[in-house]
């Protein structure tokens, strides 16, 4: 009998592996034909901070829409252009959006950009068109370190679930206190993010 359980798409990103090579950012841009000046994926560098050479911290942080379980953007969008699919992907219907940018204000993760050409708001779509074909989002497909995996978090046998289970001590969501419950989950670096780890009570 076929399982009828609800899918919940998410992504795990292992910050211990990310080398900040920007391949994901470029892949996203190419795959989704994203306009110049608009960024659905950006890779930031935290640090280096501290004293050279042995008291320094640094890690890379790829940022995009977190596809939250309780998205701030959906609550505030007056046109319902921003919506969430049953399997947890947050999307924007560009035909409804009128560019009020309320969602950009409300998003705590700096995930959304106003496209100056179309005058509507855009963001990561978790390559929903690829997920539907059973393929990884382009960022995960091309990641040179293999640190990104998307999949069904409700399926305990999916690769993402197995990675999260195997690395439960490093699982980290950004700003959990907001209650957004992102579906994009990070794995803390084993080294190089001591200040972050200490401030969230991890070793």
């Amino acid at each position: 009998m076929e399982s009828t359980s609800q899918k919940h798409y998410g992504m795990v990103i292992d910050l211990d592996k990310c080398t900040g090579c920007q391949a994901c950012a470029v892949a996203c841009k190419m795959e989704n034909d994203v306009d110049l000046g608009v960024f659905w994926e950006r890779v930031y560098r935290m640090g280096p901070i501290g004293q050279f050479p042995d008291q320094l911290e640094m890690f890379y942080f790829p940022n995009q829409c977190m596809h939250c379980e309780n998205p701030s953007c959906i609550t505030v969008c007056p046109t319902k252009a921003t919506y969430q699919t049953d399997d947890g992907i947050v999307l924007v219907d560009a035909n409804l959006c009128f560019g009020c940018q309320y969602c950009i204000w409300a998003c705590p993760y700096e995930a959304r950009t106003l496209n100056p050409n179309t005058k509507t708001v855009e963001k990561c779509i978790l390559c929903v068109h690829r997920l539907e074909q059973g393929e990884q989002p382009m960022c995960a497909y091309t990641c040179t370190t293999g640190c990104r995996v998307a999949g069904d978090m409700n399926d305990p046998d999916s690769e993402i679930s197995r990675i999260l289970a195997a690395n439960a001590d490093r699982v980290f969501r950004v700003h959990p206190e907001f209650g957004n419950q992102p579906s994009v989950v990070y794995l803390l670096p084993r080294k190089g993010a001591e200040t972050l780890c200490k401030s969230i009570g991890r070793s």
């Binding site: 901070i49 940022n63 701030s72 505030v76 046109t79 009128f98 705590p108 005058k119 700003h175 907001f178």
Partner: protein, 278 residues
């Protein structure tokens, strides 16, 4: 954050105009409420045109009525009713005579005006901007409207008959003081909101607009209102000055309000921002 100028203009106009109408209704107006309604409508029209510049695709405005959980939708929903109510007030004595019903129509308009201000104020309260993550935001939205409204009523009195009840001036002074105190508390709070986005309003780049608010929104109105007791002959001029200065002060305050409202840092435990350099 980036200053959304159309919103500065529109929210300032909304507060000055709607504040005036509500205070005129509640405190009693020496000038027919219909006239006040027209002033309010005029200010709202200016604000409305300004906010069209904020919308990137204004032709899709009618999409705004879709999500009643969103304060923007609530605002949009109230707007036509508010407009109609104000219009109904404004046409009273021109197209028709409402007589005793004037009060009811005025009440409806005043209630809708208050609701509009509440929705707009609430729209700015959000977790993603620690400076705005406080009920202060709504309170201040209303208090600034109150300050402009009470001073506006003083002007109405002086325009109507050249004299104004001391109580009205006292109320205007009190409203200004209370508003200023709350604004000062908000400014103080900005210094310790955390998430890596503490703001000291007395330092650049906030300093100039902070000073503008203090001068135009607090000092000038208080001084002008106070001087009315000493120089009753110049009362109208002083009151007008106070009102215009207050309006300008609200605009300056709103600029500071935007400027000081940074998005939460993703990693506030680090002193340095996310880097995009390579």
């Amino acid at each position: 954050m980036q200053i959304h100028w159309p919103l500065v203009v529109s929210t300032a106009c909304q507060r000055v105009g709607l504040g005036l109408f509500i205070c005129a209704f509640v405190m009693g107006s020496p000038v027919p409420l219909a006239v006040v309604a027209w002033v309010t409508l005029g200010l709202l029209a200016v604000g409305g045109i300004a906010s069209i510049f904020h919308l990137q695709r204004p032709q899709r405005f009618f999409n705004a009525f879709s999500n009643f959980k969103s304060h923007l939708t609530q605002e949009a929903f109230i707007t036509p009713f508010l407009g109609l109510a104000l219009l109904a007030c404004g046409l009273n004595g021109v197209l028709y005579d409402l007589g005793d019903a004037t009060f009811v129509v005025g009440l409806v308009a005043a209630v809708l005006a208050a609701a509009f201000l509440v929705c707009t104020g609430l729209a700015y309260q959000m977790g993603s901007r620690p400076a705005w993550n406080t009920p202060f935001v709504l309170v201040l939205f209303l208090l600034t409207a109150l300050e402009a409204g009470t001073i506006g009523v003083v002007v109405l009195w002086l325009v109507a008959g050249g004299l104004v009840p001391v109580a009205c001036v006292a109320v205007a002074l009190a409203a200004t003081v209370v508003c200023a105190l709350c604004q000062a508390a908000y400014v103080r709070r900005m210094r310790s909101v955390g998430y890596g986005v503490n703001v000291n309003a007395t330092e650049p780049p906030y300093r100039s607009v902070f000073i503008m608010w203090v001068v135009m929104g607090v000092a000038l109105p208080l001084v002008a209102l106070g001087l009315m007791f000493a120089m009753p002959a110049a009362a109208l001029v002083l009151a007008a000055l106070a009102w215009l200065s207050c309006a300008g002060g609200i605009a300056a305050w709103t600029v500071l309000f935007f400027k000081g409202a940074h998005k939460v840092k993703l990693f506030p435990m680090y002193p340095v921002d996310l880097n995009l350099d390579m």
